[in-house]
């Protein structure tokens, strides 16, 4: 039974930190080019600080682990799925409310309406696809 991290897991562990470092550098350049010196310093500090926090707190916190992309076991995958579904439901509620707002103001077919439709079509397609797919738990502890 595998007890040591695989190369893939090790890469995942540092991927979020790498992305935040690159993102922070990009923010610094963009803000510096716009002449916003304070933001060019503060924004990268915030985002790299976020990357460092979730990367090094991942061993102690499920939330930090999930933010750092470490869903190494079935329970974390389940938490990630549930959190994702709840987030999607909240966003869809906002979009549908926005679509109703557009309807009330004679703007039906606007951005909220189209995004609501996209959300509904995506959900229907995913439901159809997953209802036909095999749904098995991985038996490999390393996966």
């Amino acid at each position: 039974m595998l007890t040591t991290p695989s190369i893939r897991r090790a890469a995942n562990r540092w991927a979020v930190l790498a992305v935040t470092v690159v993102g922070g550098a990009a923010m610094a350049v963009i803000m510096a080019l716009r002449g916003e010196t304070a933001l060019a310093i503060v924004l990268p500090v915030i985002i790299v600080g976020y990357g460092l926090t979730v990367t090094f707190a991942a061993g102690r916190s499920d939330v930090a682990a999930l933010f750092s992309g470490r869903e190494e076991d079935e329970r974390r995958r389940l938490i990630n799925l549930r959190a994702g579904a709840t987030t999607a439901n909240v966003l869809m509620l906002v979009l549908v409310c926005g679509a109703f707002y557009e309807m009330l103001h004679g703007e039906f077919g606007g951005t909220f309406s189209r995004l609501s439709a996209l959300g509904g079509i995506t959900y229907a397609a995913c439901s159809a696809s997953y209802s036909r797919a095999k749904s098995k738990h991985s038996v490999d502890a390393a996966e």
Binding site: T3, D62, E72, D73, R76, H137, A141
Partner: protein, 65 residues
């Protein structure tokens, strides 16, 4: 669903971290199983049973409502 995981782990002198490493899950997952906050999947329940040399039914007890 009640389980004997904590008792069995302590009897073997294992930490939650060590048991998690042996089973391929996180320490937090072991803790959640021991506190009845998470019911493991069938493959994980079988891995747990094999680790302790027992059957799944000897470790996990379904509460009949």
């Amino acid at each position: 669903m009640r389980n004997e995981v904590r008792r069995l782990r302590v009897d073997l002198g294992l930490t939650q971290q060590a048991l998690g490493a042996a089973l391929g899950v996180s320490r937090q997952t072991v803790n959640a199983i021991e506190q009845d906050r998470y019911d493991p999947s069938l493959p994980l329940a079988i891995r747990i049973a094999r680790h302790f040399g027992l059957t799944v039914e000897e470790i996990f007890h379904v509460d009949d409502a």
